[in-house]
Amino acid sequence: MKSVNRQPPAVLFMILLSFMTTVMAGPAVVVEAQWVREAPPASTVLAAYMVLKNTTDTPRTVTRIDSPDFRNSQIHRTVMENGIAKMLPVERLELPVDGSVVLEPGGLHLMLFEPQRTLRDGDTVVLVIHVDNGDSVTVHAPVVRKTDATDHAHHHH
């Protein structure tokens, strides 16, 4: 999501003043460090990772994350129980005031089923983050090839 950093001209600012709460409030949730792990050629299931931040003064909930580049998606959490890796569906992600939720390998992740086209390192996919206040935030996530355990998979802007 592009943040609104530029100062609008004063006249425009005055005109927009009445719409300020809706237009200028910015998204309820800010998305950072988003990336999709490139999958081996045979794979039809991919995972996306990101940091979701609540910059508002109200607790927010992410209810769903979609992608037009995949047939379906689900938020999952990988948990280890007695050495067994399990993936549990997560219905919603609670974002406290000034809080964030991290989706990262081995933990929370967005499962992406059946890409609509071949996705290789350097490609970009669209993710739409739906928030409980009705907002949706659209971001572009780079596809990143990661085949070793170093932490270099972060990212372009």
């Binding site: 081996p40 280890m80 390998p105 992740h109 089923f113 085949t147 070793d148 355990a149």
Partner: protein
């Protein structure tokens, strides 16, 4: 949901339940074996057995359609992970760790191989496994076999796996599975196990110590 997808779902669930029951029984049986004499050594992240344990006969096939059995474990060290190719998070992460271990151990004077055995033989054909594992490292080997053949190996190692529906009626089921990495020595014996969280640095370090101890 249609009747046919209902019955195929039911079959899938039943199969999952049967596998889960068998795997749990096998797990309890082998956990007992493991618990008899586990040694967690202070200087190792791994659990190494005081005496490496013989592996009972098993026979699977690798992604080149070659037999992968007890004899295939001989003559070299084998790091073995159990996973599946439809696994988007844990398996790519683990294979990336294994690739990092391989790179860290390039200077070691020992023949080392990295193997992923599928816990999803219905979907993971040798061809599919070949594409998947070699994406991470061209020398990695994928192994598969029938459910029964797979159990010959998983049962004795205490590997548990269980199919779980992700989307109702979908082909996209998930498989809960033991996430440990198993180490076999060049005599084809079960030498050590590394349990998550898996660290390439720790595992490579442990391997060097264990190798030294055997030389």
């Amino acid at each position: 949901m249609s009747i046919s997808s209902n019955s195929s779902t039911l079959r899938l669930v039943l199969k999952g339940v049967i596998i889960a029951v068998l795997a749990t029984a096998a797990g309890i049986w082998s956990a007992r074996l493991v618990l008899q004499r586990p040694v967690v050594e202070d200087e190792l992240a791994a659990t190494r057995f005081p005496v490496a344990r013989a592996v009972q006969p098993f026979e699977l096939i690798d992604h080149n359609h070659e037999v992968f059995d007890n004899a295939a474990l001989q003559q070299r060290w084998s790091f073995v992970f159990f996973g599946y190719t439809y696994c988007p998070d844990v398996c790519p992460t683990t294979l990336s760790v294994l690739n990092s271990i391989a790179q860290r151990l390039q200077d070691v004077d020992a023949d080392i191989r990295f193997v992923m055995v599928t816990v999803d033989p219905q979907r993971d054909t040798p061809e599919r496994l070949a594409e998947y594992v070699t994406y991470f490292n061209g020398d990695f080997l994928g192994v598969t076999g029938s459910d029964e053949a797979l159990e010959q190996l998983t049962r004795q190692l205490g590997i548990l796996y269980n199919r779980v529906e992700s989307e109702p009626g979908s082909e996209n089921y998930l498989v809960d599975h033991t996430a440990a990495v198993f180490l076999f020595d060049p005599d084809g014996r079960y030498h050590a196990v590394f349990t998550p969280p898996l660290s390439a640095e720790n595992i490579a370090g442990d391997f060097r110590k264990m190798l030294k101890a055997t030389q």
